[in-house]
Symmetry: C2
Subunit: 205 residues, 2 copies
């Protein structure tokens, strides 16, 4: 008898996420997941009715963790300065430091992995991903609007696309970092974004 069902469930999900980031959802089988997680086929189907259900729960968990990470980092940055520009610059620095402190290469983004095989997923799953990206847009855009009230941008800029640029830099850096096997790409690109925001809004530069 399984005394720790939640642990088994988490083990299956972690194993599946890791395999999907290497092989894609389409290339991942239930057998792969069972083997990697070290659980029985019975245990797998006790927790998930199908690979499709696992796929949906994985992306929902990923989206929840992503949103929590975003909010926590934003709250932390807001606690370190009263100025919205400094808050956003600190927010980016916190991600930069976090990524620099990782010992393992960054494993990639489950959203991007799913989107590369979007034909395999239903509308509900693609909507979870879309909502996650819109959350980043909204949160960063709110901050940029406050920044614009205090700091006149040195160039005309579309604030929404400037907000999107953070997500773009994350996603693009994951691709380049993986291809070149250079882990530092992500932190370097965040640093470029930081520098761009300073040049745009920080009159002391």
């Amino acid at each position: 008898m399984n005394k720790d069902p939640e642990n088994t469930r988490t083990k299956i999900m972690n194993a599946a996420e890791s395999i999907i980031l290497d092989k894609g959802f389409g290339g991942t089988t239930v057998s792969n997941v069972i083997e990697e997680a070290g659980v029985s086929k019975g245990a797998f189907f006790h927790h998930f009715s199908s690979k499709a259900e696992l796929g949906e729960e994985l992306v929902q968990r990923y989206a929840d963790q992503d949103a929590e990470h975003l909010e926590q980092t934003l709250v932390k940055a807001e606690g370190l300065s009263d100025d919205p520009l400094q808050q956003l610059l600190i927010f980016i620095k916190l991600f930069e430091q976090e990524i620099e402190s990782l010992e393992e290469p960054f494993p990639g983004c489950l959203f991007a992995s799913y989107l590369q095989q979007s034909e395999l997923f239903d509308h509900k799953i693609l909507e979870i991903i879309r909502e996650s990206m819109l959350l980043w847009r909204t949160r960063v855009l709110d901050k940029l609007k406050k920044i614009e009230q205090k700091h006149h941008p040195r160039q005309d800029v579309n604030l929404q696309s400037l907000a999107d640029m953070l997500m773009v830099i994350f996603e693009g850096s994951f691709v380049l970092s993986q291809s070149l096997n250079e882990n530092k790409v992500i932190a370097q690109q965040l640093s470029n974004y930081h520098s761009y925001l300073q040049l745009l809004f920080d009159s002391s530069n």
Copy 2:
């Protein structure tokens, strides 16, 4: 008898590329490709010994086209100004205009698609992708080094990571554009990169 073998070959490759961009390489079967291309199984295996061989030839073709596109756009930009900063700014604008003029949504990047399933590919294929990304790095970095000799950057900047940022913006924009179903993301992000370079190097800003 097939009177136009080159055309059949191209038809197969175009169909395969399009399906792989939707489903991933792992989720694409020879049957899918045959059906989409409207060719016989015999014709397929006359041209390709396996799906793996097709996968390799596809990425090689994509890399060749990508390199040619890069060089042609660079030559065009170099013909429009003598100043290296203006050349790079024009180079980015040319991509921006090209993407804005597309009637169909941008189909995505075959490199990113392959990298999301990197376990399915051998070293040779991953090396083709790596070399393509390094070519972009080298070409843009060469230009940035010439810019730096004439224009002192307004902030400390790592020129290599600034060169990489163009590829990062392309790849990240493809992800965001696909998820949000907003085609304009790519041109907007190229415009942000353009603005960042101006702020860094153009003293008239």
